[in-house]
């Protein structure tokens, strides 16, 4: 028992070292030996050999086939290597240098991906094997290792958000000054500020709100209050769902072909395009808010002699209002950050100034960021681009946080 403990402890430490080495060599592109074709194959063979060894060892030790997948994995590795060795040189990607790289592609893949990760995987797997005797091979071991994976998943889901926000805040903060926020766009965005872009985005939000609110709430009222189950409702619902899934660039093309010939590229055109993009979000959340109002209230109003419309206007809509507002605000957050629909419908990079009416061209933050990105590498716009991204993300996340706070505040009134 004691020997087993010491043994597994040592295996654990060694495999941890392997895991760290693998990670380091992956992250910093750092190699311990000169990698060419044959050392690569040798590494592969050693790796698969060790997998065979561990699985057979554990079979005899514990009479458990728990690690049979290692054998399968190792066999696949060896088979792949064998195929690559046996292929004639001429068509062998493994040995032929390929356009982009000076070295044979096989060596590149080995170097860049396989070997480093292999070491890391080897480390992790042997660590888990080393731990296995403590928990036994039963269900508790399974649960433990599964939960470790699940924890890893949630961490890697949240991590990007933190990294993105950290990067944008740390890089963009220096540039955000009062003169940047209010200044005009000058010198192709190199100097000056983003005042017109902020105003343009806010104006766009206002236009979208005015258009989308009656349409979205009206549709939701029809779906939630008036509709009986039937083909028409199903058609409307399917249409809303398709509209929700439609790529934003298709919305942009739609605005380009339908609204631009009528209104020209302008704030109104872009607003209409974005309103259609936002519509399904508003419809869905408003419908949910309306359905959440209990039927008893409706019945009470109807029993008192109120008409259907009076009931909706005076009884159903007021309590559903917070939900409707939340949905609309969420939709506006989406609209404020979209670039593709305004590419061809009125957003410009220079010369528009502050918007002076519905039919003027305008600046918008996402489009401004896109244009600055286009200049990166040619002109010193990097700082301005980061700061624009920061302001954009502040506005969009600000809108979203407002919506979430509203929802939490008014949750569960019934």
């Amino acid at each position: 028992m004691k020997l087993k403990k010491i043994l597994s402890g040592w295996i654990f430490i060694i495999s941890l070292i392997f895991a760290v080495l693998g990670f380091v060599s992956f992250a910093f592109d750092f190699h311990f030996i000169k990698i060419n074709f044959w050392t690569g194959i040798a590494g592969l063979l050693i790796l698969s050999g060790s997998y065979y060894f561990t699985s057979i060892y554990y079979y005899f030790k514990y009479k458990s086939w728990k690690f049979i997948y290692l054998i399968i994995f190792a066999t696949i590795l060896i088979a792949t290597a064998a195929i690559f060795i046996m292929l004639p040189d001429k068509i062998n990607l493994w040995k032929q240098p390929l356009g982009l790289f000076d070295e044979p592609i096989g060596a590149v893949i080995l170097k860049k991906f396989v070997l480093n990760q292999m070491i890391a995987i080897l480390g992790v797997i042997s660590a888990s094997i080393a731990f296995a005797p403590y928990y036994g091979f039963g269900k508790r071991f399974g649960q433990r290792s599964a939960y470790i994976l699940v924890y890893g998943c949630i961490v890697f889901t949240i991590l990007p958000l933190i990294l993105i926000i950290y990067q944008i805040v740390s890089n963009g903060m220096m540039g955000v000054t009062w003169s940047f926020l209010t200044g005009d766009i000058t010198y192709d965005g190199v100097g000056g500020g983003i005042g017109p872009a902020i105003v343009g985005t806010l104006g766009l939000i206002a236009v979208v709100t005015i258009i989308v609110l009656p349409l979205g709430v009206g549709t939701a009222v029809y779906l939630a209050e008036y509709s009986e189950r039937g083909p028409i409702v199903r058609v409307i619902r399917t249409a809303v769902n398709i509209l929700q899934g439609t790529p934003s660039i298709v919305h942009g093309l739609f605005g380009f072909t339908v609204f631009v010939p009528i209104f020209g590229p302008s704030l109104l055109t872009a607003g209409l395009t974005l309103a259609i993009l936002t519509l399904p979000i508003v419809i869905r959340s408003s419908e949910e808010a309306l359905i959440a109002v209990p039927d008893e209230i409706r019945d009470a109003s109807l029993a008192l002699g109120g008409t259907k419309w009076q009931t909706i206007k005076k009884v159903v809509l007021p309590p559903a209002l917070p939900g409707i507002i939340t949905g609309t605000v969420l939709g506006l957050g989406r609209a404020a950050g979209e670039t593709a629909p305004i590419l061809f419908t009125g957003a410009v990079f220079f010369g528009a100034g502050y918007p002076d009416g519905l039919f003027s061209k305008f600046h918008a933050l996402p489009y401004h960021l896109w244009s600055l990105f286009g200049y990166m590498g040619y002109k010193p716009v990097e700082q301005n681009a980061w700061s624009t991204a920061l302001v954009l993300i502040l506005i969009v996340l600000g809108i979203n946080v407002t919506a979430i706070i509203l929802r939490e505040k008014f949750r569960q009134r019934f």
């Binding site: 939960y147 699940v150 439609t246 298709v250 093309l253 954009l392």
Partner: protein, 295 residues
């Protein structure tokens, strides 16, 4: 009597408003077809081949295959990242997380979904693309790999929140029955909860993939807009193009048949995404019926 007419009129108005979204979908389809008709006509009776992989505007070669391939390849690649991570995260949120943490995580995931795609693209190009450029020796800071990674991150919130809803909707009785039989929590999750929610999870995955295929700006900034199928086909270190990026990058300076070809690309895109969202909706409805016994 007057009142009745008024009520009817109001109902009519609401119906009209509700029908607006149907109208919009209809109009989108009609206008896409109307605008792409010349290209489709040319490809049927003329000498352009929309499905070839040769793209050269000056020679009037309009083969969209490279973009279609890129769209599907990149979306599938992003799925490799977003599906396992998303499923794991949703299992954590629905099964393991304490109520307080869950109440905090849900809004955070929503915020992740709210970050504009242009910001994802910016970060993807400036940081991730550069990292791959330096470490993996790609020809340019743009690569398909960077696109897959960024799209994977972008599709995550949708997959997490929808799968979380699906897992949460599995009745507690079913889980309790499994636990009472002596199964561990993980065994219950693996053998009871996930299989019961499988159509919801599939629907979430399709939805996430739909978003990945429809994504424009991030791809445009990260993948490089080069109309060429990578050789070999699975080479993720090369640049590529997608239908969305193709439209967004070339619409500005297109004229004549070129415009029409771009609209054909939009039709392909719209068809793929619409088919996906219909399948996803159907699966979601099925889950709902299964657990709520509706209809």
């Amino acid at each position: 009597m007057k009142r009745k007419i008024k009520e009817k009129a109001i109902k009519g108005v609401f119906f009209g408003i509700a029908f607006f979204s149907v109208l919009v979908i209809f109009l989108i389809f009609i206008f896409l077809f109307y605008k792409s008709a010349p290209a489709i006509y040319e490809s049927m009776f003329g000498d352009i081949n929309l499905l070839s992989s040769k793209w050269n505007v000056n020679k009037e070669q309009f083969g969209l295959w490279a973009a279609v391939y890129g769209s599907i390849f990149i979306a599938l690649g992003s799925l490799l990242i977003s599906f396992p991570l998303g499923l794991g995260a949703s299992v954590y949120m629905s099964e393991l997380a304490p109520e307080k943490l869950r109440a905090m995580l849900k809004p955070v995931i929503e915020l992740l979904a709210g970050i504009p795609s242009i910001v994802y693209g910016f970060i993807g190009a400036v940081i991730l693309g550069k990292f791959i450029y330096i470490n993996y020796g790609t020809l340019a800071p743009n690569s398909i790999l960077a696109g897959m990674l960024i799209l994977g991150i972008m599709a995550l919130p949708i997959i997490v929140s929808m799968s979380d809803d699906a897992l949460k909707s599995v009745p507690k009785d079913m889980k309790d029955a499994s636990l009472a039989l002596g199964a561990t929590k993980w065994q219950t999750t693996k053998k009871v909860t996930i299989p019961s929610a499988v159509s919801g999870i599939t629907s979430a995955t399709i939805m996430g993939m739909g978003r990945a295929i429809g994504e424009t700006m991030a791809i445009l900034m990260v993948v490089g807009s080069v109309m060429r199928i990578p050789t070999p086909g699975f080479d993720i270190f090369e640049t590529g193009n997608t239908l969305t990026a193709l439209i967004a990058s070339q619409m500005g300076e297109a004229a004549g048949l070129h415009v029409s070809v771009l609209f054909t690309a939009a039709i392909m895109l719209f068809t793929i995404v619409t088919a996906m969202s219909i399948i996803s909706d159907y699966l979601q409805m099925r889950t709902k019926r299964k657990f709520e016994g509706k209809e």
